[in-house]
């Protein structure tokens, strides 16, 4: 018997495009599914990370204040950052959230268990949760807090990435905040709405070649328990509050794999998919502004750290230079650029796209949100291009700090005196340029894909693509100028 396929007009929250190729990892390698179905799976991953995190905090407080001799600075801001942005984000989605130690104690207090599931009927779920389990205010149910939080931290990044005590304090505060919010509010409120790291992970996870999805959406339609979001005796209710039955983008799936455990129909699987062209729908202004903030920060960091203008570096480095006027100017310019000027430029490009395509019937908001996705692959690749020299120039610190993590004069592996030695610095531009051009390429491909879902007329489509493409060219040229002079 035929199934009924969408006989009524519906407005899906995200533009549903024709799904491209995807490869079912669990079907090909069932041991992977058995692994993630183990109740202890996530705990076993988080535990070593938790010890490491604790050690980093100790190093931040009691270790040397010299940044490049302290493990919290070298491992977090050089190694972790590079792995996160250049490998995990494009190839493993939010796998960092699977192992992130920040929400560990909050989860533990909420669940009163680190491994086993407790059945029950805490409101909205089939599990027993502790704590107040309150609802997060509707006005804050978005990623604006994360946007502002990340921009704020980024403004003080010169302090954050050079002063171990500052890094320790910030991570310590985030840790306390995650735990406190878990006691007051339901599920992963901290991760969904507050964590500044989570904000950009949610955005750039859209580009990833990995996705956790239901294998057969019809199974979910027939499912009466909705255990993926409500939990069951086998798995906790989705900590991120996403419904797998209709999930069509990576943004808010933290890859905890609880739904794989709880699904009564064995219908959740891990898929490999093409890069940057699968989840192509931004759904709110908060997400577009997140894309703008990230792109602008990649730009200002490149100016500050890679550019020839030492004055900007001095302005940002307020703790050493003490030029508060310069710092104020830098902070204001960065905020204006990220929150006002660049979004305005993008808005103008969208208005021009509408006008040039003769598409007055299409709401500006719709075009603004949908075409906004083009900024996502562009931004991610710009960040990767920025991060490559960080690792190549400063990577040798990882070797020396491994032997002397606190900067106390230890020599655990005989590498404490490994000299600072940039790795093939002459190759940096040759790596940055193709990475950046990839960002531009995927940005344009994304525009075309989104546009094809909006415009049926080829001429209208091409015309609508021109202004935002010009903007992307402008962005690329500015970055190229910074990277290769």
């Amino acid at each position: 018997m035929a199934t009924v396929t969408a006989p009524v007009q519906a407005t899906p929250p995200v533009q549903v495009q024709q799904r491209p190729w995807r490869f079912d990892l669990f079907a090909r390698w069932p041991w992977m599914k058995r692994l993630v179905r183990m109740r202890s799976f996530q705990f076993l991953l988080i535990l070593p990370n938790l010890f490491m995190f604790y050690f980093f905090l100790i190093a931040g407080v009691f270790g040397t204040p010299v940044g490049n001799r302290n493990i919290i600075i070298v491992f977090v801001w050089i190694l972790w950052w590079f792995l996160l942005i250049a490998l995990l984000m494009p190839f493993a989605s939010r796998i960092w959230c699977t192992v992130c130690p920040l929400p560990f104690f909050g989860d533990w207090l909420q669940r009163r268990s680190v491994i086993r599931v407790r059945s029950g009927n805490s409101p909205g779920t089939m599990n027993a949760f502790s704590g107040l389990h309150k609802r997060w205010p509707k006005q804050l149910s978005n990623i604006w807090l994360q946007n502002i939080g990340f921009l704020f931290l980024a403004t003080f990044s010169a302090l954050l990435v050079t002063r171990p005590i500052v890094s320790a304090l910030v991570f310590g505060l985030l840790f306390l905040l995650a735990t406190g919010l878990a006691m007051a509010y339901r599920l992963r409120t901290f991760c969904n709405y507050v964590c500044p790291i989570s904000g950009f992970l949610s955005l750039y996870a859209m580009t990833s070649t990995l996705e956790l999805r239901s294998a057969d959406k019809d199974e979910c339609l027939k499912c009466t328990s909705k255990a993926c979001i409500r939990g069951s005796e086998k798995g906790w209710a989705c900590p991120w509050n996403v419904y797998m039955g209709k999930l069509d983008r990576n943004n808010y799936c933290g890859l905890c794999f609880e739904c794989v455990k709880s699904c009564p129909n064995d219908n959740i699987s891990l898929f490999v998919r093409p890069f940057a062209l699968s989840d192509v729908g931004l759904r709110g202004y908060d997400e577009v502004w997140k894309a703008s903030i990230m792109l602008v920060l990649a730009l200002t960091y490149s100016v500050m750290l890679l550019g020839p203008w030492s004055v900007f570096k001095d302005w940002a480095n307020v703790s050493e230079v003490r030029n508060w006027g310069g710092f104020g100017l830098y902070a204001l310019a960065q905020a204006l650029l990220a929150l006002g000027i660049f979004p305005a430029l993008y808005y103008v490009s969208i208005r021009l796209a509408k006008w040039y395509a003769g598409a007055e019937a299409i709401p500006t908001k719709e075009l603004f949100l949908k075409y906004g996705y083009a900024l996502v692959p562009m931004g991610l690749l710009a960040w990767i291009a920025f991060s490559v020299p960080l690792l190549m120039v400063n990577g040798s610190y990882i070797i020396s700090v491994s032997s002397d993590p606190m900067g106390w004069g230890m020599d655990l592996f005989g590498t404490a005196n490994f000299p600072w030695k940039p790795l093939w610095p002459e190759w940096v531009p040759y790596l940055q340029v193709p990475i950046l051009l990839c960002g531009f390429y995927y940005g344009v491909r994304a525009l075309h894909k989104v546009g094809s879902g909006i415009f049926s007329d080829a001429r209208q489509l091409q015309r609508s693509l021109l202004p935002p493409t010009v903007l992307l060219i402008g962005v690329t040229v500015v970055f190229l100028k910074l990277f290769v002079g």
């Binding site: 009924v4 499912c223 996403v242």
Partner: protein, 165 residues
């Protein structure tokens, strides 16, 4: 031939009974999902669950009148007819579910069911079976009308934006 048609008609009715039972369970799950989150949405889904149970009871009565007691162990429906579901997988994150949207979920499901039965009426050559489908299409039409009225009340008599293609 007549016995064969009666048997097919019986199966159609049985399947409709099962679908109503399944949907009642889905609505109940959705009601529980929104419990403590948005109690008004939760109450509406619970109301819909009760309505589905009533629809199921009406169909069971019809079945009983024609074919005797409804068998207790019948295969669960494999079709995706009239399957209510959340439209937005991130509705709980963005707190975006409203009563109107909950009603639309119900309305969409009922419209799908009505269309399905109408299509079957058009393409089924057997008169008895066609009559069974016709009856079910009218049954769903009543539900569509009721939900549209509720939606219109919520929207200040503006009527439903959902139109059948």
């Amino acid at each position: 031939m007549h016995a064969k048609a009666a048997n097919a008609s019986l199966e159609v009715l049985l399947r409709a009974i099962q679908i109503e039972a399944r949907n009642a369970a889905v609505y109940e799950s959705l009601a529980q999902l929104f419990q403590g989150y948005d109690d008004s949405v939760s109450a509406l889904f619970r109301e819909m669950a009760e309505e589905e149970q009533q629809h199921g009871a009406q169909l069971q009565q019809r079945y009983g009148e024609r074919f005797g007691p409804v068998p207790t162990a019948i295969e669960k429906p494999k079709e995706v007819i009239e399957a209510p579901d959340l439209n937005d997988p991130e509705a709980m994150i963005f707190d975006s579910m409203t009563i109107e949207e909950a009603l639309e979920i119900g309305l969409r499901a009922e419209q799908e069911a009505r269309e399905f039965y109408r299509q079957e009426v058009a393409r089924t050559p057997d008169p008895e079976l066609r009559s069974a489908y016709q009856e079910l299409a009218e049954f769903e039409e009543t539900h569509v009308r009721l939900l549209k009225e509720k939606l219109a009340q919520r929207r200040g008599a503006k009527g439903s934006d959902l139109e059948v293609r």
